[in-house]
Symmetry: C2
Subunit: 330 residues, 2 copies
């Protein structure tokens, strides 16, 4: 089987590629070829299958998508996107990459399938940003999408396209509204959600971190490992039970900053807690206030998707996957 990953150089793309190489298969189907594409140079996992390729290409440039689907990949993980902040500051780039890029990919699949039996599984990384305040405390599976960012708008539009192209039999698509990924590895970034990860990651590495909101702030989390699990599970399962409704809110952990700090104390000790500096930031508090806090993802649970159930688990995954199982002495 041939598997294509767009956005393969991103945090999730790299972890997904590494997992696929470890698994060697999706469901019962062996992976013969892995094509990794990104606008940046991708980090290639060791032990790639024989005729795998890495491409540096921009999906939003006409022709790129046709080139990528020419070899008829059976599974396409579409992760490529401009992130939330950039889509907000650069209107044109956000729509070009996140909307036009996706549409070019879907239309290339359509063109590739004319006169042939080509109907790939397309797993699309959507986001809880398709929802916008005011929100209920718990968001049900039939709640409407009223995004408050251009990024969320572009994701919601791509969900609609994916559903229509699936309904027409052009592809077999599923959109996954990923929870906030925590603990994100790597350097702190300027995303408003960054502190949720940095207040665990930095103290455990012996560094200081800033906490801009109060302990009672709640949010919806899953680990990078759980996110990779969502993607591979979505590629393997029968999607017929979804009917025409191809977008899924996913399981996650509804936790407060207080829950997060308590788990950090249990795993990293008082020393880790002392490395957190409280610097209340009203602007960040307002942004976070507008985000979803919890979901009731009945459909995804019924399809076998699962995530962590405590912040201890989320931190344990970080320690295992990023720190070689070792926590610095508190």
């Amino acid at each position: 089987m041939h598997v294509l990953i767009t956005g393969a150089a991103g945090m999730l793309g790299r972890k997904l590629a590494a997992q696929l190489v470890r698994d060697g298969c999706i469901g019962r189907r062996e992976i013969g070829t892995l094509t990794l594409v990104d606008v940046d140079h991708s980090t290639v996992p060791a032990d790639l299958p024989g005729d795998s390729v890495r491409k540096t290409a921009d999906l939003s440039v006409p022709g790129t998508a046709s080139d990528l689907v020419a070899a008829a990949p059976e599974v396409i993980f579409h992760l490529a996107a401009v992130v939330s902040g950039e889509a907000e500051t650069d209107f044109g780039k956000g729509y070009r990459v996140n909307l036009d890029g996706t549409r070019l990919l879907l239309d290339a699949i359509r063109a590739r399938g004319i006169g042939e039996r080509y109907r790939p599984r397309v797993v699309f990384a959507s986001s809880v940003a398709v929802f916008g305040a005011p929100l209920p405390e718990v968001i049900g599976d039939d709640f409407f999408t009223t995004p408050l960012t251009s990024y969320g708008t572009q994701k919601a539009i791509c969900e609609l396209l994916l559903a229509d192209y699936s309904r027409r039999g052009i592809l077999d698509g599923i959109a996954l509204r990923l929870p906030t990924i925590c603990v994100r590895p790597g350097a702190p970034n300027r995303a408003a959600s960054g502190f949720f990860s940095s207040i665990v990651r930095e103290p455990l590495a012996g560094h200081e971190a800033v906490l801009p909101v109060g302990d009672d702030v709640r949010h919806w989390f899953a680990s990078p490992r759980a996110a990779v699990g969502f993607l591979t599970h979505a590629a393997a399962i029968d999607l017929a039970p979804l009917g025409g409704r191809r977008s899924l809110s996913l399981p996650g952990l509804c936790a407060s900053v207080g829950d997060e700090l308590a788990a950090l104390r249990r795993i990293g000790g008082e020393g880790a807690l002392r490395r957190i500096r409280r610097e209340p930031d009203a602007a960040i508090a307002r942004i976070v206030e507008a985000w979803p806090r919890a979901f009731d993802p009945q459909r995804a649970l019924a399809l076998g998707f699962h995530a962590e159930r405590s912040f201890d688990e989320i931190i344990a995954v970080h320690v295992e996957d990023e720190l070689g199982g070792v926590v610095a002495a508190g």
Copy 2:
């Protein structure tokens, strides 16, 4: 004030133009210029304001939209669309006209406004086709949009674009999910919903009509006059109460075919009823089964939108507006 209507040659566009000419204003603002554009030749109402123009142009052709907004119309009614059936049979045309055409219009407004204070009111004709089965008996204002046609998908996408462009201050938009318009004037068409109109229109004109479904089939209706009222009201009111949620389900009448026939009997007599031939059609019954039956349009009601409350009223509007107040003897 300069008012632009796209899709001005359609049933609703013609009625809207005629109403605007009669009113001479929108809210308290006098209409100085009316620009009517359509791919077909528009019927021009008598007594058009002085420098009004009629244009035959295709919005989905790049350049057309820039040309139309060059004169900075303050109110834009965007009605132009390929209808449901055609968007389903002609995939490319549906996306080109209904999605790309709308995006070209919104982007032309954006370009027109750069460096200037241009932020027009945009009233977009959306549809209850943004909803898809399975549906609750009554659809609330926060129910999700899962269209089951490409037409409904395109309308739902345009709703998202309109909301994002409004949030960014590029325009001041509102999307109206029009109920099924009944009684549609003119010749019977092949739309699956056509019978709802023809079983009133044809008997009242002394002709036979076919009824393909049972008396218990329920649907959501408003008259053409109510639809024009939705559009002009949406152009006049303050939209600040909508916040970021720019799409509205509208008031309408939830009525069964039985209700419709009873009203027809009261207005047209037994003779009118006898002109209806029952020809059950399982295919049409299945299509109609998947459509919304009723809404609880709290937000639209709070904003002052209103429609008919009985089928007698809907038929009375048809008799007044299309038949000169005269019903043929039963």
